[in-house]
Amino acid sequence: MTDATLSPGKAVAAVKRPTGASIGPRWSNALFVAPYMVFYVVLLVYPLFKGIWMSMLESDMFDDTSKFAGLANYYRLFNDKIFIGTVWNTVLFVLMTVPVFVAIGLLLALALNRSDRTSATLRAIFFGTSVLSVTIVTIIWKMMYMPGNGAIASLMRLLGLEPIAFITTASLALPAVAITTIWWIIGLPMMLFLAALQQIPGELYEAAALDNASRWRSFWSITLPSIRRTMLVVVIYEIVAQFQLFGQAQLLTQGGPNNASRPIVLFIYEQGFRSWNLGYAAAASEILFLIMAVAALAQFFASRKRVEE
């Protein structure tokens, strides 16, 4: 027993074992994370800070000169009615789409959470639109919305109604983009909800049936609490994704009429790559980044509090 007692004062970290293994930091281990770190720094950290720096420059892309301008770009942005309009449009678009993604995604998932062939086919169809490119999607919906001989206009005429010019009416252009977007990528929230629903043990519903729970009560007391985390994921993901609205608006309405459907990213694109105001575009990007971060964080903290209860 006494033989095994360690002599006092011997530093454990310095012990060199006979096999050659040593306890303590070994910097060669960093090689294992190096590939990831390189890409992370080059493709994420560097552009992030470069973007912040650019937003404080006044650049001229024609003669490739730039000078430090402090917060001048930001000051200009907050006084730019068109930019404020695009922020408002984007927020409105997020409010129009995200709740619908959650509600319809969940409804579809509930309806198709069965193992028969019809449900499997419908699941594939609803998810199928997500793989289409934005170009195809906007072409399809342009054919739907066209006031002359579009599908909706033809249908309305058939019913004896006056056709509505969705894309060229200021109050309807953004909702039209929203409907197109929902049709396009409703498949993802549906699939996420389906995966969550299938994780709920069937025994819980059987126990609830024996407990005289109505379908509504089972949904409220078992289904909803069980998919709360997935709902949080869907909400955060869709907020982040829909704040970046670009392709549908550019191809369907070009931001019009009269900027009624112009989102922030389209503004950034036009400032940066059409008007060559790179610093101004970078400043708008930073504001979009801030809005998205705040929205996602607020949702995350609000939901985490409830989940932990």
Binding site: P201, E203, E206, A209, L210, A213, P225, S226
Partner: protein
């Protein structure tokens, strides 16, 4: 306290073209503790779920307390079920788990609180009421699941393999508690299990099922002492009953079984009842003892020591094997040549179809 009988009348169940239960009739008396015992896939759980209303009934009738229930939804049948994986609502506290069913039928809150307090006291879970299922151990979850049944004061309790998720020590303890609980409530109880010890120790009657049909219904000692078929004889009892092919001679009206090596077991089975054709004698290990004057010679191959007794796996002269029992302090070693004495009074004979023939009672 409600007590109700349960009657199954020619009940059938099909999954697609496969008939899983055919024309099964059974009466469970009021206050009885019945075990459905059988290997997995024998239809015992399906039968229980049909009584609960979780599976439809394709033919026949189910009556609980005289009232026909096979068309009623599960909640309207007045039964409570304890599931194998407990099926506690994970997002509710233990109290809300117990209250859920009562709230759904509009029970007054003070009555709910009174019943939960009572059940929690009986099951010793009063200190757990504010916790969620995820914060409980397996045994505590089991108690909550039983509590959820208890507060409903049901006409019958249905247990679907409730002990199979517990560790061995806890299983034995919970078994005793279930027996005690039944003695207190005297409620009609159906208990599905594949474990013969659970069935033997808990049930007042056992329904042994195999391959979609009932093999035998009887008290534990009837099942053990007078198994109706070879399946029951093999399934109940550990080690399984020994089977040896025999020729039968008439010895004063009783069958005298001649083994392959010529040794004789004098059974008490009446010869008159026996059919022609191949017969086998069935003897339990405890009826085969090592004795210097035994008639049956054999060689010990394996010695299993269980402490209180010892099981000897023995090869007979004709090459067949059997398991004999010896005392816990047995000196027998593998490879020993031994002589065995077989107690003929407890031997059974089985025909080619597996049907059993017993001594007169």
């Amino acid at each position: 306290m409600q007590v109700s009988s349960i009657e199954l009348d020619s009940v059938s169940k099909r999954f697609g073209s496969v008939e899983v239960i055919s024309e099964l009739s059974l009466t469970i008396h009021s206050g009885e503790f019945i075990a459905f015992l059988g290997p997995s896939g024998c239809g015992k759980s399906t039968l229980l779920r049909m009584i609960a209303g979780l599976e439809s009934v394709d033919g026949g009738e189910i009556r609980i307390g005289g009232e026909r229930v096979d068309r009623l939804p599960p909640g309207a049948r007045g039964v409570a079920m304890v599931f194998q994986h407990y099926a506690l609502y994970p997002h509710m506290t233990v109290f809300d788990n117990l209250a859920f069913g009562l709230r759904n039928i509009g029970t007054a809150e003070d009555e709910i609180a009174r019943r939960i307090e009572e059940a929690a006291r009986i099951l010793e879970i009063s200190h757990l009421l504010k916790r969620k299922p995820g914060q409980l151990s397996g045994g505590q979850r089991q108690r909550v699941a039983i509590g959820r049944a208890l507060v409903k004061d049901p006409k019958a309790y249905l247990f679907d393999e409730p002990l199979s998720n517990l560790d061995a020590a806890l299983r034995v303890r919970t078994r005793v508690e279930l027996a005690r609980l039944h003695q207190q409530t005297r409620a009609t109880t159906i208990f599905v299990t594949h474990d013969q010890v659970e069935a033997m120790t808990l049930a007042s009657r056992i329904v042994v099922m195999n391959a979609r049909k009932v093999e035998q219904v009887g008290t534990p000692m009837e099942i053990y002492g007078r198994p109706a078929t070879e399946f029951v004889a093999r399934f109940v009892g550990s080690p399984a009953m020994n089977f040896l092919p025999v020729q039968v001679n008439d010895r004063g009206g009783l069958a005298s079984a001649v083994l392959g090596d010529g040794s004789i077991i004098d059974t008490h089975v009446p010869v008159a009842a026996l059919p022609g054709g191949d017969l086998r004698v069935g003897v339990r290990a405890e009826a085969i003892r090592v004795r210097p004057d035994g008639a049956l010679p054999g060689k010990v191959e394996v010695v299993e020591r269980l402490g209180d007794r010892t099981h000897l796996h023995i090869r007979l002269m004709d090459g067949s094997t059997l398991v004999a029992e010896d005392t816990g302090i047995s000196q027998v070693q593998p490879g020993d040549a031994v002589r065995l004495a077989v107690e003929g009074a407890t031997a059974h004979l089985f025909d080619a179809g597996g049907l059993a023939y017993h001594a007169r009672q």
